[in-house]
Point group: C2
């Protein structure tokens, strides 16, 4: 079978059986943003009906629901669909990764580091994010440590993601636009927000551990 | 320059300038074990002179000192010495990685995933381990959350390490002995021990957060 031309960099990347995107960029991005706004709005409204949850915690519930579903559905599809770039129907999830690969061709090229990070994110962190929504809503004692754990996982994943790209030459974007919009723009939120949540959880946990100093000695 | 033969698998791995090990396996392993026993004994004795530290915490201090120094010295050398396999003197740290690469040739082959994980481990986790020794000794309020964070980093690193090898075909060991002794044997402790410490820290943190339920609502 002839290898069709593809839009990805490096240009000599071999993708036998590649089928181009069916959907335009806006047809791919708009449903994702639309669904995300719907999830965030739904969680915000529902959490408002549960008594005694602070606005910060309600915002956190929105974030955890959004990021958890992204991890499970989008990243889960990628991790376990090695041949997504051959899909010859306008399958939405395949289209997402065909499009995103313009910002990082290691996705379409099945880089082992990227597949590993996405697999860990989808299988372990995704469900843990949804558990965090429940833990905040029900004020579980493990709420902060769970949020801290997931944030650390997300941050470690981002570190591996960016450092491996740097070590491999950082030349996986179709052009500057996709580099900044997809590779940097889409990912920077998963550096910024987990950093803030991890810092908050760290402070809360330290405060909770403070009066127990004496108990530690046994 | 001719490519000298090397003992690593896959056999077609290209290592121009490779210089074979000067030291035998026991000459490499014995000093590491000796230094480790010295560090553990020293921390055990010193921590015994600081009052009111439980035996479990003293053992943890020994572990954190041992693993922190391993991360900083051994793994730090590897992460920042891309040409260690060309070193033509019996440089101990270069010898360690020439020998270990018999269990996983991705080290000598400079696999980006392995270099990334080792870099993160050496730069972030190594110093954090030594901070954990201090935090336990001085009963800091961040002691448990710090230990939990480092354990999670070690576990995430191991996951990336083993999953990327699996995705790449899991064929990087010179023979079965090195596979089980180095690749599995040497690494399994960094799965087992961090899992136990993380679980303990999780339980302690949950217990500390339990009475503060009411405070969370603000």
């Amino acid at each position: 079978m002839a290898n069709p031309s593809h839009p990805y960099v490096p240009r000599d990347l071999s993708l036998p059986g590649y089928v181009p995107c069916f959907l335009s960029q806006s047809e791919i991005v708009a449903p994702y943003l639309g669904c995300s706004v719907f999830v965030v709005a739904a969680i915000w409204l529902i959490s408002g009906r549960i008594g005694r949850i602070s606005k910060t915690d309600r915002l956190l519930m929105c974030w955890w629901a959004f990021t958890g579903l992204t991890h499970i559905i989008l990243e889960g599809y990628f991790a376990f669909s090695p041949e997504f770039f051959k899909v010859n129907t306008p399958h939405y999830l395949a289209e997402v990764w065909k499009e995103y690969s313009k910002g990082d061709s290691r996705y379409v090229g099945r880089d082992p580091g990227v597949v590993t990070v996405e697999g860990i994110t989808a299988v372990l962190e995704g469900p843990a994010c949804l558990l965090a929504v429940y833990a905040i809503a029900t004020k579980k004692s493990y709420s902060y440590i769970l949020q801290f754990a997931v944030c650390l996982g997300q941050l470690y994943g981002c570190l591996v993601y960016f450092i491996t790209a740097y070590l491999q030459g950082d030349n996986f974007s179709t052009n500057e636009f996709y580099y900044w919009a997809y590779y940097i723009g889409a990912n920077c939120w998963w550096v910024l927000i987990p950093s803030l949540i991890a810092l908050r959880a760290w402070n809360r946990i330290c405060a909770a551990c403070q009066p127990d100093k004496k108990k530690k000695t046994k």
